[in-house]
């Protein structure tokens, strides 16, 4: 054994032995591995279980008990310069013809972002993958929806799972007498509305304003815009630029004097898809009312419309061709015994204007969270 081999052996022994030695010294922040657990990120897991049935749609997708989604989230400060958030979601893939529904699961990275900590006052910079900051519904994670599924006025145009893209988002707290936040972003363009093969980026922006209308109530008004390379359709070819505009108005009132006291939220959002080669006059709209009538109880009522929507984004009725207009009404009641679990019972009725399609459905959803889950935005 030459000197180099001895040195190498000694180095290996030192590397293998040091953690054990350090652990034996009983360092307060060390584990048996010699790595501090104090530096671990906050970790949480949210699971949505869904049982649903439909009077009119006979597919297994619409009549089953299944895992609706499972999200694993990690959040941490990276170093003096960045904080990071990562969310990995698993959900059943839609069954293709001849396949049994609910047997395959897709894994999506919904969020993988870092936020720079050193921006000057009022500015924020985020880099990575996240839901596009467009309107109120699209940025929501599934377990934070007001109803089990996204309103048809949104999902008919952008799908059920929102729009996630990778890019850069610059935020500015506009110095106005009320809360105003401006976001502009440039991202990849791979979502269902975009041409995923294009080298062009998507660009968007949102201006959100919020006023305190009383000590316990707020009014929020937002404007959003998005543009990117439009999806290429098999039949019709390239659709040119995909442009989309939106506006939202939300009023919230939360009792300030009793823990878990009554609360009332009214959310309205309009979506105006405006592709370069558009057919018809597409428009999406929804209105959601959420009312907390007991410490643990919520009631939800909703109405939505998708006008002149292309059918391919709605997998349940993929056989339908041509533009269609769908109206939807829905209601639910939610029991949330703690901040970490909830049971939601609801029903919806969807009907196509001038068409045969209708769907009366009911669902029961169980929602639970374990671990250290960050609070949801207001």
């Amino acid at each position: 054994m030459n000197i180099h081999q001895r040195l190498l052996g000694a180095a290996v022994l030192l590397v293998l032995g040091l953690p054990g030695w350090a652990a034996a010294q009983g360092g307060a922040s060390s584990t048996a591995t010699g790595i501090s657990r104090l530096m671990n990120p906050s970790i949480s897991l949210n699971t949505l279980l869904l049982g649903q049935t439909s009077r009119d749609i006979k597919t297994h997708d619409a009549n089953q008990i299944n895992l609706q989604e499972m999200e694993i989230q990690f959040s941490s400060i990276v170093d003096p310069f960045w904080t990071a958030d990562l969310i990995v979601a698993m959900h059943p893939e839609h069954a293709h013809e001849g396949e049994e529904a609910g047997t395959h699961y897709a894994v999506d990275v919904e969020k993988a972002i870092v936020e720079y900590r050193g921006m000057p006052r009022g500015f924020g910079l985020r880099v990575g993958k996240d839901f596009l900051n467009f309107g109120k519904q699209i940025p929501l994670h599934t377990h934070n929806f007001a109803f089990v599924k996204a309103p048809v006025g949104i999902s008919a145009f952008v799908g059920d799972h929102g729009l996630t893209e990778t890019g850069v988002d610059l935020a500015w707290n506009v110095p106005l007498p009320w809360w105003a936040e401006l976001n502009v972003y440039a991202t990849s363009a791979t979502a269902v509305i975009f041409d995923g093969t294009s080298r062009d980026l998507a660009y968007g922006g949102r201006l959100s304003n919020l006023w305190d209308t009383s000590a316990n109530s707020t009014l929020e008004f937002g404007l959003s815009a998005l543009t990117g390379p439009g999806a290429v359709h098999e039949m019709d070819g390239p659709s040119g630029r995909w442009n989309m505009y939106g506006a939202d108005l939300t009023w919230k009132w939360i009792s300030g004097t009793t823990t878990g006291g009554p609360a009332l939220y009214l959310t309205n959002e309009i979506l105006l898809p405006d592709p370069e080669h558009k057919e018809g006059d597409p428009l999406g709209f929804y209105s959601h009312l959420q009312y907390r009538f007991g410490r643990q109880w919520w009631l939800g009522l909703g109405a939505s419309v998708a006008r002149d929507a292309e059918p391919e984004h709605d997998h349940d009725v993929a056989e339908v061709h041509g533009l269609r207009t769908i109206r939807q009404v829905k209601a639910n009641v939610t029991l949330a015994p703690s901040e970490f679990s909830a049971i939601r019972l609801g029903m919806h009725y969807d009907e196509e204007e001038d068409g045969d399609f209708q769907d009366l459905g009911a669902y029961l959803q169980v929602n639970f969270t374990i671990g250290s889950h960050p609070a949801h935005a207001y």
Binding site: N173, T259, G260, R295, A375
Partner: protein, 311 residues
């Protein structure tokens, strides 16, 4: 051309000199406090040298403050953020800090002040095996330490030190005010304990563990809790068992905070033959509790009055 440039430069220098002289050596320190108790304490210590904004009004349960972006706007203008810590504000403060985008109050900076760092002998620190089957337990201990005036004194001294780091010119004044507060508390503590001596002899049921530190200070005799798992609505069975147990006790008091569900505490008191007392749990929760000392005065006065009922 050169002459014009020189004149403009001289004018700019003159304007700057005038403006610079007009600005005081150190403007007021802009302090944002998460809860009104801390807002009151920092106002007592900071005096006229601080401008205080409180995020959670006194009448609102600080566990559940809605994280309104308008509150982030207030944080965005702060030189210093003082908060309770021990995860009392975990449901809303991290969101607001992130939204405020204010480097002055980022964790680890001079403007980031966790007041729990000053508090010794935390109560109800759970063991290593804590989990959520016990409810919304705070893993680092009960966070409601401001309701103990002795611990409030520790916080006041800590605030003086932290204000002094940001505004060194007034550091001595901050410490003087904190010391004056400590002496005031010492003098009043004698009165507060004498006032509530009778109450301390009666069995007390509390709604939530908000009162743990006050109980420790006044040496009250707590025999039960309505919300037996923190943050979880009490089950009818638990309430019934509590009533059955409470019926065996003489001169029972049932204490709840202004934001608790009073109909439950009233029912327990009525069916057990006791007296329900609703107390302000934070400064500014109404009824002459504008500042911290008024709050403790009010609590002790109302406890004393309740302690005399049914004698």
């Amino acid at each position: 051309m050169k002459t014009t440039m020189k004149r403009i430069a001289l004018l700019a220098v003159a304007v700057f000199a005038i403006v610079a002289n007009a600005v005081p050596a150190m403007a007021k320190v802009k302090v944002v406090a998460t809860i009104s108790d801390l807002g009151s304490l920092v106002q007592i210590v900071g005096g006229d040298d601080v401008e205080v904004t409180v995020l959670c009004p006194g009448e609102m349960d600080p566990h559940f403050l809605p994280a309104k972006p308008s509150l982030a706007r207030k944080l965005g203008q702060a030189d210093m953020l003082i908060y309770n810590g021990l995860e009392l504000e975990v449901g809303w403060l991290p969101l607001l800090i992130r939204k405020a985008r204010n480097p002055s109050i980022k964790p680890g900076t001079k403007g980031d002040v966790d007041c729990s760092a000053a508090v010794t002998e935390l109560l109800e620190v759970p063991g290593a095996n804590v989990d959520r089957s016990e409810g919304d337990v705070h893993p680092m201990g009960n966070p409601h330490y401001t309701l103990d005036p002795r611990r409030a004194v520790l916080v006041a001294h800590y605030l003086a030190e932290r204000l002094g780091r940001i505004d060194a010119a007034h550091a001595a004044e901050y410490e003087e005010r904190a010391e004056a507060f400590a002496q005031d508390v010492a003098a009043r503590s004698v009165v507060w304990k004498a006032q509530t001596a009778t109450t301390a002899e009666r069995p007390v049921i509390i709604y939530h563990r908000t009162w743990a530190y006050l109980v420790d200070f006044l040496q009250l005799d707590v025999v039960g809790e309505i919300e037996h798992r923190p943050g979880i609505s009490p089950s009818p069975r638990h309430v019934q068992e509590l009533i059955e147990r409470a019926r065996q006790m003489d001169q029972l008091l049932v204490v709840s905070a202004t934001w608790d569900h009073h109909h439950v505490s009233t029912e327990v008191a009525q069916r057990a033959g006791g007296v329900a007392v609703v107390l302000p749990a934070q400064a500014g929760a109404g009824g002459g509790t504008g500042n911290y000392l008024d709050l403790i005065d009010t609590i002790c006065r109302e406890l004393a009055a309740a302690g005399k009922t049914g004698e």
